[in-house]
Amino acid sequence: MQPILDIKNVDKLYAKHQALKDVSLQVPKGSIFGLLGPNGAGKTSLIRIINQITGPDAGEVLFNGELLKPKHTERIGYLPEERGLYRKMKVGEQATYLCMLKGLDRKTANQKLKHWFEKFQIVDWWDKKVEDLSKGMQQKVQFIVTVLHEPELIILDEPFSGFDPINTNLIKSEILELRDKGTTVIFSTHNMESVEEICDHIALINKAEKILDGSVKEVKEAYRANIYELNFVGNKMGFTNALWTGAELLDFQNKGETQYAKVKLLGDVKSNDLLRALLPVAEIHSLGEVLPSMNDIFIQKVTEIETDDE
């Protein structure tokens, strides 16, 4: 299937600072895509190029196979990291204005806004000034105007910074709902743990370069370290002897009745081989593979690159 976004060899320079260097990415349609990397890596620069706030110095971006053009802004919803609202303007009026800038006519905008305001239970705020709203309320309004024009692509830059847990959950569930309707969502964040669970594709960006991308499953697959966690009843001596040369014990904890162990399988040893070796000496309660977190993968990848450079 054609990706909704095809980013090809994009470079971006600010004065003497290189913000993006030969970045190529594909965002599959209907995915929740995590754009991950530390602060200052170039995520916002890339997002601003997708939103046509700035242009790339080299390379190109295709939206549904077409070269990015101003008309595409109406099919993208963008919640920037630095976000706000006109403080002196009334909530409803302002929301209508922002939606009209995205190409909706006044009537449609009003109808849809009413619907969302009811959904988020904020109908009473329609005629209030923004400065009278709490921050959480403003966040709801900001989210609504980002998604109201039913864009094909929604870009959220650090969406949960400054959001309270209730709003965070509300928005996460809204995003999943939108994804189910076919919308593509790009999450950009430095806080990798926060989105890992809902992303199905990711790209890691570090120091202006993309260092890794793919589906979360593939990436984790590629970076699995053959590490397993076990909960069992049995003694440590027997357990260690049974591992023999097939596995290496990384961690062992006595948890009263049961024991916990973390082992790394060596060579071609499979989990079943491990079970077979252990069954005679221990009563296994659980066995599970420990997949690396995005954070682990990121750190590992960055270290790899740095060692390669040396």
Binding site: Y14, A15, R48, N51, Q52, I53, P70, T73, E74, I76, Y78, L79, P80, E82, R83, G84, L85, Y86, R87, K88, M89, Y97, L98, M100, L101, K102, Q142, V145
Partner: protein, 444 residues
Amino acid sequence: MNKIGLIIGREYFSRVKKKTFVLLTLLGPLLIAGGISLTIWLSIEDAEEQKIVVVDQLSPLFSKLENDKRVTFDYSELTLEEAKASFHDSPYSGILFIPKNIETGSKTAQLYFKKQPSAVVIRNIETKVEGIIEELKLEKYQISREEFYDVKTNYAIQPIKFTESGKEEDIDQGKTVIGFVFGLLIYLFIFLYGVQVMRGVMEEKTSRIVEVIISSVKPFQLMMGKIIGVALVGLTQIVVWIVLTFTIVMAVQMFILPEILGIDTTQIQATEEVLQEMNQGNSAMPQEFDFSDPNSILKRTNWTMMLGLFLFYFLGGYLLYSALFAAVGAAVDNEADSQQFMFPVTAPLILAYVMSTVIIQNPEGPAAFWFSIIPFTSPIVMLVRVAIGVGDGGIPIWEVALSMSLLVVTFIFVVWLAGRIYRTGILMYGKKISYKELWKWIRY
């Protein structure tokens, strides 16, 4: 582009709907008219009747001073010292001291008072003293009153411009005063609304709404939308002010003036006296602004041309400066930081205003020429000049054409330049910007 229309609409209505705008727009002309009337009224109206004690060293020459309903004179035999000594315990409001050698002019009469009397009272006393001295001199030189009026001459030179085509035209500074008023309006509006543009840009930047908006429209559209929207607010205000002021002036002329005239003629005379008094230093003013005089400045000014040029230079100057103000607003994070960039923007504006006060006197000198050509000062200075006419007998057409085209070229260039600063600046947060940095943004 209907999106730029949306932005213009928001900028326009969010300002026009503000209570302060409505109030200022409706009350502005009333306040101005009221202020002027009040000043005049205060200077002529004296609730208290003046009782003056006269100390005359030429006794009894000045016993002839006539009383009227405003001022009564009590002739005394006191010396000035005696009068002064008892002054504050007396019911008198003033001491008029006539020195011995008043007729030779080496000493003038003095009026001591407790509370400053109005200009009208002083003028009143002056006229009376003048009359007596004149009579004294007429007698001394054996001149009859008729002869005196015949000799007395009011002399003024009438400057006439003789053009190449042989046309003769009166030159008068009254016309440049009208031009100056237009220039002053432009100056005020550029300042007022230019700063509003800057504030608007800063508001969008500090409230962090700007990135949301420029993901829908180009930064240049946002900037121009704001500039145009605010310009329309300014035009609305000008139009309302002109219409209201005109209405008020007409109403006053039709209803209120005749009433006053009917009731109290002396007051009107006094008003005119005061006005003349006020305008003495200011040549060609007195009857020039009288509507009924067919020869008045108001009738001779080419209003169509003036209004047309006013509109052109207002828009040109405003676009030029408000683009710069927008760039300043985009470059800074808060109003305090804006000061360092404000100065170079406002300096030429203030210079233009100061120059135009000088150019009233000499609208065809070299200073007038240069400042009316340079685009940063021309919107204000050129209006002072064109008031004396354009083409034959006035400012050469090529000068006006050059000034106008330079203004257009410059504002296009400045808007482009400001756009470059703007698009980078609005996304820079929490950074103190230097001129070097701005230069980088422009080249980038």
